[in-house]
Symmetry: D2
Subunit: 136 residues, 4 copies
């Protein structure tokens, strides 16, 4: 099995900085979401179509380790890869670096559970087959 990977870029917005002069820490979770959005689009399974089909990928756990602060105007490279693929969940891992000089900004992971949008509070449901096979 070849490992599934994806690379996307995000340009830091002024709105995303805080008074310390760097990107506010919660926004790295948004950048990581940009990473998985891009990965799914590359697989031919855009996330908004997954939702229209009645499923959602809900974040069950998120973790970020901050290494260096991204700054306004920086282009950030988001590397996303599938670390583990379960029946009803996915573990993704991310590396964020500054494009200009390759500085590692942050690493992180999210565990996503697949739920049925008709009842999001219910137990996770099996990942749709085309998503499973696309990701593996």
């Amino acid at each position: 099995m070849s490992e599934r990977r994806s690379v996307s870029t995000v340009r830091v917005r002024y709105a995303e900085t805080d008074q310390m002069g760097v990107v506010y820490h919660a926004n790295y979770l948004v950048y990581m979401e940009e990473g998985r959005t891009r990965m799914m689009a590359e697989l031919g399974l855009p996330y908004h179509e997954l939702e229209r089909a009645g499923w959602a990928l809900v974040v069950r756990k998120a973790e970020v380790r901050y290494r260096a602060g991204a700054r306004y105007g920086d282009e950030v490279l988001v590397r996303t890869r599938v670390e583990r693929l379960g029946g009803a969940s996915i573990l993704l891992r991310y590396e964020l670096e500054r494009s200009a000089d390759g500085t590692l900004l942050a690493t992180g992971s999210t565990e996503l559970a697949c739920v049925d949008l008709k009842d999001p509070a219910r137990a996770p449901t099996m990942l749709p087959e085309h998503l499973r096979s696309g990701l593996s």
Copy 2:
């Protein structure tokens, strides 16, 4: 008819500042929404109950004039008042000031249209009677 007014307070969060060291300008719209949320709760018509009942108040126009920058840790006073009450829309006006010294931070307004959540794209619907009478 006595004019309908409401006062609420917001504490500036670190997340809301930007690298200029003041609150990012778009966040004043969020503070203004806090103002109208509080006004509706005081009227006994919390906005989340309005939505549960099938209506929404959609922002059709917003305007903010910035006077001075709010800073992290500031308590901001949001004064909200009904400026005009139409059949299917409301015009609210806001004044934001720093509690500590009364500095005027911003003034603004929002025009809200009442829509039927079963079809939000449709033309505005009449304001529910209890909302109209509460606001007037």
Copy 3:
């Protein structure tokens, strides 16, 4: 004088939606900022360099008129143009439309004052000459 214009695109993020299923209204101000950021980069005067040189463009007034809701996954076209160029301020006007079908989503404007970052509370300062000539 040919009118100065710029076009940029923004992809709607999940983080930018709200429970009504459309982009939260304050985020259009962020999209408009993406528009002027792009315009300035095209002029060879990236905003982060302006700040490094000791100036800032501070929003003094903002206005948005909402026409239709942008949705998650939409590509939004932001057209930015200089409407008025004063000695110490700029009035920009924006049109946002959904790329896929040309639907007009919002129109808006921002008035920006040029301030000296060594003392942002002071009166506006003259626009740097290369910015003035670039924008006009």
Copy 4:
């Protein structure tokens, strides 16, 4: 040593929801920050004063485990406690629950390093003594 704890409340804003109808996952980090801001204020060491004195607490690691979705209008209780206090860093742990029914919404932690604002990129500096003694 009695364990240091603090409890604060946050009211969910419309701006914080996403199209799934619950609070967008990154915003739990903002709620957790509200928890530590309150804890520091209770200690008589408001965070904005710490920054004015030349220090900052920078997030080095953050982790959130999501249990149930907070909804617009919910009051969220944020319980914050010091889990570990090092020479130059603090580990805080958080529990978020819905006030109305005690439902556990999320648990999480942040590791904060104390840095010297004159050079935030430098190695962590020792926690100021009054902060150390207040937290322990």
